[in-house]
């Protein structure tokens, strides 16, 4: 049988993208659409005393100017109150009414004939503010007497959870060696090259709203949009065009989008909005600002007897997500590939006068850096080789399935296998020789290793157990049309992952047709089934699984029809191969006169020939809820040279050995690895959202917020060592975030290895030249 899964088929999406015929949000032509522009707060924290929009309203071409007060009449506030112990409920109006909470907070919306005019009119809006003391750091947020970012809360500590497994206190009491380490991660932002935007059309005659918006999760988005507009879900259609990068930024219903929707309805005219880059950097959403400390009790071989984690996260000024959830995942999976039974964590999440948090590709990315950095701290203290300390603690295949101290179960992972392959392929012995020789010449070279266990596909059981509201299921359908053409759909929405290609391969193989005959229809809530959308690393596993199940169900129906048409009692010896029905005769697959088209014609147009009692038509609709969690694993190795005089870091080599289960399209999976690793490296080395002590954001352009270019990112060697997951229908595990996790940890580890002769340890990011210089200034290397 000719299969396409596992082949690097070229992408179906490429032609339109390469020729300028992709259709992204701002490419949609909508006649008569008005353009929205937002006047944003210049203050980090201030009361809104008065807003005068009279002058702006009078500008020719301006149609309407609105504030939070009017929007509150047309829309419902967002209440974030999941029943999670230690998490305070909060509420957010569509636009702020009484006070602003960060620089860039949208305060007034101007709708005009074109975007240029709307921006002109913005200069005429007069807002009187009373500045308040800004809260600009986690320490500041928790300081006694700190100003309250949200005045409905008792303090800025919006979420606090603790947990203990085993008896870490006792282990610490017994152990003679204690190792502590710190990890400070800086604020970053997603920076998709396409900024946010929307185009909303209200149909007054049908009382129906169509929201065009590049969004990763169209159905959950529709649910929230309908609720907040006080419409039924049958009155709202969400259509996602091509998305120019998401990375987690295009999940939430943003206040600007809700404002445009409300205005389209009130004005009975289409309203569109596209933010500029400065707005995207200042006011879309931010991520990753965390401080963590670990304390490990160890024996003389470096074996971890107990581990404690304290983590504090800066969630910014508003909660578009439950504030506990990201830091919680870090704490849940911290122990990764290591055997640790006695464990405790303490997670604090604080509000500050900064842009609100949004999950960024691998929200939990810091976890691998924390555990690997802890291992390296142990090795430093005991003067052991960190490779040996990993070996001492790492799970063996015979330990699986392994119940982590938090109750999560690891199975079907291969951490030792990828680790040993990575060491061999990198050739550590050769590296150590080069490193020694270079040190004598004043060249400081380091190798960094990071072992990653990536939580990929979250099932409903995980959410339930973790106390996080939500479902992990996905839905899909496959239809064979009367001509034999195949259409398929799933609730996921792509933002560059190549679903149209990959899922065509999956459906084609499960059905028995050629992938070019399968078209994937996604991103329209009227035609796609209600699914949870694209987030995390779930797409491949949930999408591939549900489409496999639907296609298999449909194949059974096709073959049952074929058996009847061929006069056979059962379909047991029939198969569909590239759209032809074949029969197993005398040990050989032999063609029959039937094609899929013949069967489809009967199913739709001549149903009296179908097996007795069978429904006409060829459609299958399935839902699939994955196991509580699937895990992928990988080992990353990074080689870097640190220029001691300038503090510059040059990445020389990067390799990763990965096990992410069954791979549908290896070219696409490798591309996802490249992209994730690049995002991790870019974040660790260059990117930083900088707020000064007044809460002013000093990173509002791409000249200040630096993304890595082709010069900084080294070639990346990806070595596949996949083993299937035995619980998912396709053997897939999921991937695409682990690269970020591994890159952050590997580059930190490489730099610390390079700096070892100076007796210093980098424990914060970004690894900017001035930081490196601060560490080594005045230090002499020991040979």
């Amino acid at each position: 049988m000719t299969g396409s899964v596992g082949q690097a088929l070229l992408r179906k999406e490429d032609y339109r993208f390469l020729t300028g015929q992709g259709r992204y949000l701002d490419d949609l032509a909508v006649a008569g659409a008005l353009h929205a522009h937002f006047v944003r707060s210049p203050h980090a924290h201030a009361r809104i005393r008065a807003i005068d929009v009279a002058a702006a309203s009078g500008v020719p071409g301006v149609v309407r100017v609105v504030t939070g007060r009017e929007l509150a009449e047309w829309t419902t506030a967002l209440r974030m109150a999941p029943p999670i112990e230690g998490l305070h409920p909060v509420e957010m109006t569509t636009l702020p009414i009484d006070k602003v909470r960060f620089i860039g907070d949208p305060v007034v919306c101007i709708v005009a004939r074109d975007r240029y005019l709307a921006e002109d009119a913005a200069e005429l809006v007069a807002i009187e503010y009373e500045p308040l003391a800004p809260v600009t750091s986690m320490d500041g947020a928790l300081a006694p007497g700190a100003a309250l970012v949200d005045e409905t809360l008792p303090s800025n500590l919006i979420s606090h959870q603790t947990f203990t497994a085993g008896d870490p206190k006792r282990r610490f009491g017994e152990a003679s060696i204690m190792v502590e380490a710190e990890f400070h991660q800086h604020r970053q932002t997603h920076a998709p090259i396409e900024t946010r935007g929307c185009c909303v059309v209200w149909d007054e005659g049908r009382q129906h709203l169509t929201m065009h918006v590049g969004n990763q999760v169209p159905h959950p988005y529709r649910t929230q949009l309908a609720r907040r507009l006080r419409l039924s879900e049958s009155q709202v259609t969400v259509i996602s065009p091509d998305i120019g990068g998401g990375f987690g930024q295009k999940i939430a219903l943003y206040r600007e989008e809700l404002t445009c929707a409300a205005l389209a309805r009130v004005l009975r005219r289409p309203v569109r909005w596209r933010e500029d880059r400065t707005e995207n950097l200042l006011a879309a959403c931010h991520a990753r600002e965390d401080s963590a400390r670990t304390r490990a009790a160890v024996d003389k071989d470096g074996r971890i007897l107990a581990l404690e984690l304290q983590i504090t996260e800066d969630f910014g000024g508003y909660c578009f997500y439950p504030a506990n959830y990201v830091a919680r995942v870090v704490a849940l999976i911290l122990t990764g590939p290591y055997r640790i039974a006695d464990y405790s964590y303490d997670i604090k999440v604080v509000l500050t006068n900064k842009c609100g948090y949004g999950p960024m590709r691998a929200p939990m990315a810091m976890v691998s850096w924390i555990i690997e950095g802890t291992i390296e701290a142990i090795a430093r203290k005991l003067r052991l080789d960190p490779i040996e300390v990993r070996r001492v603690n790492m799970l063996h295949a015979s330990d699986l399935p392994y119940r982590m101290p938090t109750g999560e179960t690891l199975e079907d992972i291969t951490p030792r296998e990828t680790f040993e392959t990575a060491l061999a392929r990198f050739n550590i012995a050769d590296f150590r020789a080069r490193q020694q020789a270079d040190r004598r010449r004043g060249i400081y070279r380091g190798v960094g290793i990071c072992c990653v266990v990536e939580s990929t596909t979250y099932g409903s059981a995980f959410y339930k157990a973790a106390g996080i509201p939500g479902s992990g299921h996905e839905a899909g359908w496959v239809k064979i049309e009367p001509s034999g053409a195949v259409n398929a759909s799933v609730g996921l929405m792509a933002s560059g992952q190549g679903y149209e290609t990959t899922f065509a391969q999956v459906v084609a193989d499960a059905l028995g047709v050629a992938p070019q005959n399968v078209r994937l229809n996604i991103g329209n809530t009227d035609t796609a089934p209600y699914g949870m959308g694209s987030r995390g690393a779930r797409g491949g596993t949930v999408g591939g699984s549900v489409l496999t199940l639907a296609a298999r169900a449909l194949r059974e129906k096709v073959l049952a029809i074929a058996a009847t048409l061929l006069g056979l009692n059962s379909s047991g010896e029939l198969r569909l191969n590239l759209g032809r029905v074949e029969r197993h005769l005398g040990g050989v697959w032999t063609e029959t006169p039937l094609s899929l088209t013949d069967i489809a014609q009967v199913a739709y147009l001549d149903p009296l020939r179908l097996p007795a009692g069978m429904e006409p038509g060829l459609e299958a609709h399935k839902a699939y809820d994955p196991p509580p969690m699937t895990y992928s694993n990988a080992t990353h190795v990074c080689e870097a040279v640190v220029d001691i005089c300038t503090g510059a870091i040059h990445l020389q080599r990067y390799l990763v050995v990965e096990d992410c289960g069954t791979v549908f399209n290896p070219a696409i999976v490798t591309g996802q690895q490249h992209g994730a690793i690049a995002m991790g490296l870019s974040g660790a080395l260059l990117e930083e959202v900088v707020y000064d002590a007044d809460g002013q954001n000093r990173s509002g352009s791409f000249a200040d917020y630096m993304l890595a270019t082709a010069v900084e990112i080294p070639p990346i060697e990806v070595i596949s060592q996949h083993t299937p997951n035995r619980k998912t229908p396709t053997g897939s595990k999921g991937m695409s975030e682990g690269g970020v996790m591994g890159a952050i940890g590997a580059v930190m580890s490489a730099v610390n290895d390079a700096l070892a002769p100076f007796g210093v340890v980098a424990d914060r990011q970004p690894l900017a030249p001035d930081y490196i210089r601060t560490l080594v200034r005045g230090k002499m290397p020991t040979p």
């Binding site: 070229l10 300028g20 490419d27 240029y116 396409e194 560059g496 994730a676 000249a703 270019t709 082709a710």
Partner: protein, 163 residues
Amino acid sequence: MSELAQPLSLNVNGEAHHVLVEPRKLLCDVLREDCSLTGTHVGCEHGVCGACTVLLDGRPVRSCLIYAVQAQGVAITTIEGVAQQGTLSLLQQCLHEMHGLQCGFCTAGIVLTMQAWLDEHPNPSEAEIRGALSGNLCRCTGYHNIVRAVAAAARQRGKEAAE
């Protein structure tokens, strides 16, 4: 239409476009809104990301940094003018074969920038390709496959030239 709008003639991909626009309107916006050529994407509006790159008389220019009125009298090439009769250019084909694009938003700027660069640098090293590409930001691919595609296009061009 604003009273400040002025008639303007632009030569885009060999076709004349007569539009009525304000002098302050950026070339990228006129191409997208008035010429209906939406393949030119706007990523940052301050000349850093390179997504909006078009060619003026064969040379790459960021269309978010110039006004449309400045582009009169020159030949403008946008991504819509690169493939001929639906056939991808060599660089477009190499990007397709090497998986050198994911979300596709930055792709037009990369195709135009690197195609023009290859005209002047027929035999580039990998480091030179990376340097030339460094004015175009891509958030999806990590650049590696784009670099491979540009190198493959250069090799193929060299082969064709030798034949």
